[in-house]
Amino acid sequence: MKALIGFLKILVLVAVTCLVSCDEVIEPEIKQAGEKYVVSALVTNEDTLQYVRITRTASFYSEGYIPGVSNAIVRVLDDSGNTFNYVEDSGEKGFYYTQYKGSVGKTYTLHITLPNGEVLTATDYMYSTPGLDSLGWAVNEEERENPDDEGKFYDLTIYATEPQETKDYYLFKFYTNGEIENFDGYGIFYSDDEYIAENIEGLDGPVFYSLGDTVMMEMYSLSREAYVFYSDLDQVLNGDGGMLGASPANPRSNIQNTNNLGLGLFQVSAVDRKSVIVGVD
């Protein structure tokens, strides 16, 4: 569904704006606003360094990276009574890590105490993922005739089975030769299964590849809250400001704070990944 609507929104914009339109940089005066705390945290079912990142909002016109929030007390609790204490990275401020393996079917609670005493909490549940069946590659004939980038005209083809009896939400990430694709900072690939048939056979990926590229795709299970967050995030990143689409607003977040100072997402996911080398069967 999201794919359809996204497609539609882009078309509407293209149809309207490509007739005769231009855009230019402007610098409206922006109001001052109080700072909020931004959490991005992921717990997976892999035995790995799980992370929590804490940053803050910055003024719109500020330049450069936004520094992280240091010296917070960060821990995650599961519903079996285990507590995982996170330790701040000595190099990158605002990143907190600890190694453990999450389990499907468990509820996890994030608990952060900031140096100024503010407490941020969040809860998420780990759903299972059906996983990807396999990946393949194929020549895209249209792109081969007229490639945007020399030699890049191979599609990733995705094979998967969508369980029809459960309600599932997914997030997908794509890596090329080990580098994550972030689509200039605008593309997010997530989906519900509302209108998806059971067999996905040879669905094209979002990127064109060259011969010999190593392509990896990750599939994360999402809770409904996390799905809603990504859907909202997509609207904020790709909206038109509210003319032909909705007025923008902050993504609905599962980060709780008594003063309503939390933004971001605490995501608990089962993950599956597959790789393929383009040109190798």
Binding site: V12, V20, S21, A33, S62, I180, D184, A197, A246
Partner: protein, 792 residues
């Protein structure tokens, strides 16, 4: 109920008063002498009694007078008046054909006496007529005249920006306007996403916008009625017109079938921008299709003066196709069958059957993701309207209507063998809709007249449908994150789901200060039972409508307005100032981030609240002389307060514009040349901009604190045009003209929208350090256009 009683008493009194002496009725039709088109709002004035009536929407008039001899003046703007001496002994039928003024230079006869359609004397306020002949002389985008663009310049009307067909009347949203073409509703009036409207200026006879004091015969929308009527077709001879433009061309043919008995008109319009795409070197571009067309057809038959039958149809569609893989289209189809019947000299009846359909389709033939997506809304309406000419002091209109509507928000089918899409049917929604109404135009004294009326509306949401009881979140509104269905109720075909009833009182009062000035006041309650599912500022054709239901209450508006109307400078100018206050309840809005398309749980996204609008409108119009046109200035404010939106705080509506100034003029230099110009200024509309930003997993995300906390830059634009009508020989009927226009003459970059993006360097590469920038989108630069028009 008190109001209803008052209404009844007035009616009864009226009836008894007319009972006493012997009365004779004079009636008939007023027509254009050249084409046989009926004249709407033409005046019939009885010199001896200093009283008169005007012809109704079908050119029919009826006046009941005591026996006697009278001098009757028939007049209409732009036509020569005709005076008839009548000896009324028995009921008399008198059909009049008014000849056109030979030339505009000829002195226009100024009728000093009261004239019902005169804006000072008529009871109604808050109405604007759009003179389509003037619209044709005004500069237009790509040279295609568009009445909607002129409506957007009327006092009390606001536009969200250029290139849109949406308009906002007195603080109402774009879906609160009822748009009628020959009484059939148009659910989306846009072509090319709003660059053009569905109205082909060549077939429009008359169009009027009702903004307040709306008569009881209209209902169903909160803010305005746009009543557009098309021409009937020349009843005397073959005639036609054609126009060749840069983007759009059109052809109209009209002719009698049996002279003065039956006639038809057919008009077609098509854009052909896509033909230029065929010139492209790129194969893919050549295969793209982008066009729209309209077809208007009308047949009318007048077997005798007691019966008239009209059949009118409109078909219009936009088609977009990108290569072989993807395409979409949308369109309106309407049909109107009308039967006008005179039961007796004083009772005029109009029976109408209306069909209206709006639909859109999207299709993709991509191998692994092919789909067909269809959505539509269809409505059938049967209406009966009566006009009873009780006496010269009272005209009673009454009637009723019944409608059946089917809303189909979406059906998706996979269209290719290996498509990842499953079958999806969102299910249809059905509604039955009834109304009865009565209204009386009542001349109480020489100076005081009233038009009072009442409408009783009933709306039923009926099956077949499934209604869910959704769990509410802590704030008492449906939880749209964790959607939980507590209970499910099934309804059979036509089984009642929920019924709504409302009484809608309407009132207009006019007090004549003297022949040149009057004051007026009005009140109306309007109820809107259908809701547009759109959270954008400007509706797009892929929005769907939904009925009032257990999820959505009917929207209700109460509006009061007062106004002062004056003629200046030997009646060359009409001036008015009106002030309004409008309170709207249950206005439909949507939760932040609402997904309204293809969402079977869209009900959890509905939010309803209140909206208050008030403002003042100044209007100066000049109808005579070489310079004609109008100036309008509106100061207004509209705020919304919707629980669940903007953290429950009030916010300015997307279409709130504090100041709006419009100047529209045509200047006739000589027989050959006419100049036209539009100037529009409006203060920037509210807009949501971020106050900050943050980084989430490599995405640079805007941070918001409130909705509509900023204003877009002001909007202003000047368009100019010139129409050249080469001198024609006297014998020939053939007329031709050239229209030249420049849109946005001083090349103003007017804001369409503002979006944010990661800052880019001069080569367009993203600077990946989290720095962001605002970009303003603006649409049309200076755009010249030319079109060639013929008429025969």
């Amino acid at each position: 109920m008190r109001l209803f009683n008052f209404f009844l008493i007035c009616l009864v009194l009226t009836y008894f008063k007319s009972y006493g002496q012997e009365k004779i009725t004079l009636n008939g039709y007023l027509k254009d002498g050249e084409s046989g088109e009926e004249l709407i709002g033409a005046t019939v004035f009885v010199e001896e009694l200093k009283t008169g009536v005007s012809s109704n929407a079908y050119g029919f008039y009826s006046i009941t007078l005591p026996k006697g001899q009278y001098t009757i003046l028939f007049s209409y703007v732009g036509y020569k008046s005709i005076v008839k001496e009548v000896d009324l002994k028995e009921n008399t039928e008198l059909n009049i054909e008014l000849p056109l003024e030979a030339t505009i230079i000829q002195e226009i006869q100024v009728v000093e006496e009261k004239d019902e359609e005169d804006p000072i004397a008529r009871i109604a306020m808050s109405r604007n007529e759009v003179d389509v002949e003037m619209v044709k002389k005004l500069p237009a985008l790509f040279g295609e005249p568009d009445i909607i663009k002129t409506i957007q310049m009327m006092p009390g009307v606001v536009s969200a920006g250029e290139g849109t067909s949406g308009y906002f009347v007195r603080g109402g949203s774009a879906d609160q306007n009822l748009i009628l073409i020959d009484e059939a509703p148009i659910y989306d009036p846009s072509h090319f996403f709003g660059l053009f409207s569905v109205f082909n200026a060549d077939v429009i006879k008359d169009s009027e916008l009702y903004k307040g004091g709306i008569p009881s015969r209209f209902g169903g929308r909160l803010s305005s009625i746009l009543d557009v009527r098309t021409i009937d077709g020349n009843a005397k001879r073959l005639a036609g017109s054609a126009s060749l433009g840069l983007l759009v061309s059109k052809l109209t043919i009209e002719a009698p079938i049996v002279k003065d008995k039956s006639s038809f008109v057919v008009s077609g319009r098509r854009s052909y921008a896509d033909l230029f795409l065929k010139l492209s070197n790129d194969k893919e571009t050549r295969e793209n299709q982008v066009y729209f067309y309209d077809l208007n057809a009308k047949f009318n038959w007048k077997p005798n003066n007691k019966n008239r039958v009209f059949l009118a149809a409109y078909l219009g569609r936009d088609v977009f196709r990108f290569g072989n893989d993807f395409g979409f289209n949308w369109g309106n189809n309407t049909a109107t069958l009308r039967w006008n019947h005179l039961f007796n000299d004083r009772l005029f009846s109009n029976t109408t059957f209306v069909f209206s359909d709006f639909d859109y389709q999207l299709e993709s033939k991509a191998e692994t993701s092919g789909f067909d997506w269809k959505a539509n809304l269809e409505a059938f309406t049967l209406k009966e309207d009566f006009t009873f000419f009780i006496n010269p002091k009272n005209i009673l209109t009454f009637g009723g209507e019944a409608s059946y509507r089917k809303f189909s928000p979406g059906v998706i089918r996979p269209s290719t063998e290996g498509s990842i899409f499953a079958n999806l049917d969102l299910g249809n929604r059905y509604a039955l809709d009834y109304a009865i109404y009565a209204g009386n135009e009542h001349q109480i004294s020489e100076k005081l007249s009233m038009e009072y009326g009442l409408r009783f509306s009933i709306f039923q949401n009926v099956g077949k449908s499934t209604i869910y009881d959704y769990r509410k979140a802590e704030n008492g509104l449906p939880d749209n994150v964790n959607i939980t269905i507590l209970d499910t109720t099934q309804y059979d075909h036509l089984e009642k789901v929920k019924t709504f009833t409302n009484l809608e009182p309407r009132l207009n009062v006019r007090y004549l200060i003297n022949n040149r000035s009057s004051i007026k006041a009005s009140y109306n309650r309007m109820v809107q039972y259908i809701h547009l599912l759109s959270n954008s500022t400007v509706p797009v054709p892929f929005n769907t409508w939904t009925p009032s239901s257990p999820y959505l209450d009917p929207q209700i508006a109460d509006q009061v307005a007062i106004g002062y109307f004056k003629k200046l400078n030997e009646n060359a100018y009409e001036f008015s100032v009106e002030s309004f206050y409008k309170k709207m309840r249950n206005v439909t809005d949507f939760a932040d981030h609402a997904i309204l398309l293809l969402n079977k749980n869209d009900a959890v996204e509905y939010r309803q609240g209140t909206s208050n609008a008030y403002g003042m409108e100044f209007f100066l119009q000049k109808n005579e002389g070489n310079l004609t046109g109008f100036a309008s200035y509106t100061i207004s404010r509209v705020e919304r307060n919707i629980p669940g939106v903007n953290n429950d705080r009030a916010f300015l509506a997307n279409y709130d514009r504090r100041h709006v100034l419009n100047l529209v003029a045509t200047y006739r230099i000589n027989d050959k040349w006419t100049l036209g110009g539009n100037f529009t200024y409006s203060s920037g509309r509210p807009f949501t901009l971020p106050v900050g930003k943050y980084n989430f997993e490599g995405y640079n995300v805007d941070y918001y604190t409130e909705r509509n906390g900023y204003k877009l830059p002001d909007f202003h634009r000047l368009d100019i045009s010139a129409t050249l009508t080469p001198r024609k020989s006297q014998q020939k009927r053939f007329k031709s003209s050239w229209s030249f226009a420049v849109y946005n003459a001083y090349n103003r970059k007017n804001p369409f929208t503002i979006f944010t993006q990661n800052k880019e360097d001069e080569d367009g590469n993203v600077i990946e350090d989290g720095t962001k920038e605002f970009r303003m989108v603006y649409l049309f630069p200076v755009l010249p256009s030319i079109s060639y028009n013929i008429k025969f």
